[in-house]
Symmetry: C2
Subunit: 270 residues, 2 copies
């Protein structure tokens, strides 16, 4: 048993969907969440800038004594994971390998789709991870840069012509390719589950990267005998911009009230 | 005559619409542009973060010997202008006062609309500027947080159901209030001119904040006898993220090719 907390970070709010999965899969763990709300979004930035930001995020989290870190940010996972794993002396789990492994287990046709940010798609990281598992898998990827701002502005509900039009355009290559499994490579996308499922149809399985990463952490901690064993863990929330906007928007992702629970830190000091 | 260049900054690309107006109104001036593309957008951030970023933007520009600075960022103009004017020893022109003055001259009904980012609307700066000119003016404001990502993803053309649906919702309070003049309080919005004009109808005058600020600079330089007098000025472009994405997207805003013309700087050093 190991009582040290687990760290989770994201460029902003989306990682809270991974926190939610962690709370359900690992209710006994203490969690420290950092959302880089002053510098969100990462997805449209250059690899150099993303790595610099990711190191600062890791440095902040590692100012706590942690047993593992989950990178709940698809962009950082695809562009910077190997570097961070080299540079930091604790297990660092990204979203790519767990999501790819789950998708490879799930697919029957061998045709898998990926929706993610521009930077994640460009990196080719999901494709490489899938091909390490099975070289015959066909991957169809599409960048969906408008999904994050649309979700954050509350436009994620079925019946909204704006999100449905954008989703139909973004998902067309997936439908044309006949994928039977679709990886949601951004932690904002679980909020679009119903819109995406409505567009893709019931025969396509959606894989949430936050859920896959949370399950990978559970497996890792169990293997190392590092589960906390507590009945109920605590979660602490830190952000780089003011807490007001965060606490309000966070309720969307976490489906619970965070009023008074988040603290602001200066990420550029790390 | 005064040959020192003019500085212009914005949180990202939008300020290029103001640069375009400056080039047309003041073709002889040298211009130094800085776009904080590594930290865009500012509009959803807290006032403290916006002021910190704005000081760094000013510090970078003032590393050149300038005769004036135009803040082509609605968010910085509304939240931080007075502080920056106090702290820096050169004329600093924001977009608020020039836009408000132009709108007040234009309106016949005394009902003026404002569309801008969340931070600009919350600040109340446009309303205060209008009421200093005429206490009887009625101002109707609406935050349009999706306009910037939609423009940056190329969705600004009439006939696109996505931008038209979002614009119709955002502009409804303006139509209900019967405004005859609408201030575009964000330098991205000139790209939406046709969509907004189509929604508001021909009887409503649109005021571009970038044009108003460029005209205010021309007046200021003429009054101080500080116009350059050159036939043709140069423009230099600096950004805080890599130049690749910038040069591509910039052509949208500037309607000319910037290939090889932009330089990346580390804004956090300033």
């Amino acid at each position: 048993m190991e009582h040290r907390p687990v760290g989770v970070f994201d460029s902003g709010l989306g990682g809270l969907t991974a926190v939610r999965e962690l709370m359900q899969l690992l209710p006994g763990e203490d969690i420290i969440y950092f959302g880089d709300t002053a510098r969100v979004p990462y997805g449209s930035r250059s690899p150099e800038t993303i790595l610099k930001f990711a190191r600062q995020d890791m440095n902040f989290l590692c100012s706590f004594d942690l047993k593992a870190v989950v990178i709940a940010c698809g962009t950082v996972s695809t562009t910077s994971l190997a570097t961070l794993q080299d540079e930091y002396d604790l297990p660092v789990i990204g979203v790519v390998e767990p999501t790819a492994a789950m998708a490879a287990r799930q697919t029957r046709s061998g045709r898998i789709g990926l929706i993610a940010t521009q930077a994640s798609i460009r990196s080719g990281a999901y494709e490489r991870a899938l091909h390490r598992l099975d070289g015959s898998i066909q991957v169809t990827g599409a960048a969906c840069p408008l999904f994050v701002p649309l979700v954050e502005n509350g436009r994620f509900r079925p019946g909204d012509v704006v999100i449905e039009t954008v989703a139909r355009e973004y998902l067309r290559p997936m439908k044309d390719a006949g994928v039977d499994t679709l990886m949601l490579g951004c932690t904002h996308y679980p909020l679009l589950h119903d819109v995406i499922a409505g567009e893709m149809g019931p025969e396509v399985t959606l894989i949430s990267s936050g859920y896959a990463a949370a399950l990978a952490l559970k497996t890792l901690l169990a293997e190392r005998d590092d589960l906390s064993g507590a009945a109920q863990g605590d979660t602490s929330y830190f952000v780089s911009d003011t807490v007001d906007g965060f606490e309000q928007a966070a309720s969307l992702f976490l489906r619970c009230d965070l009023k008074g629970m988040a603290q602001q830190i200066n990420i550029e000091k790390y």
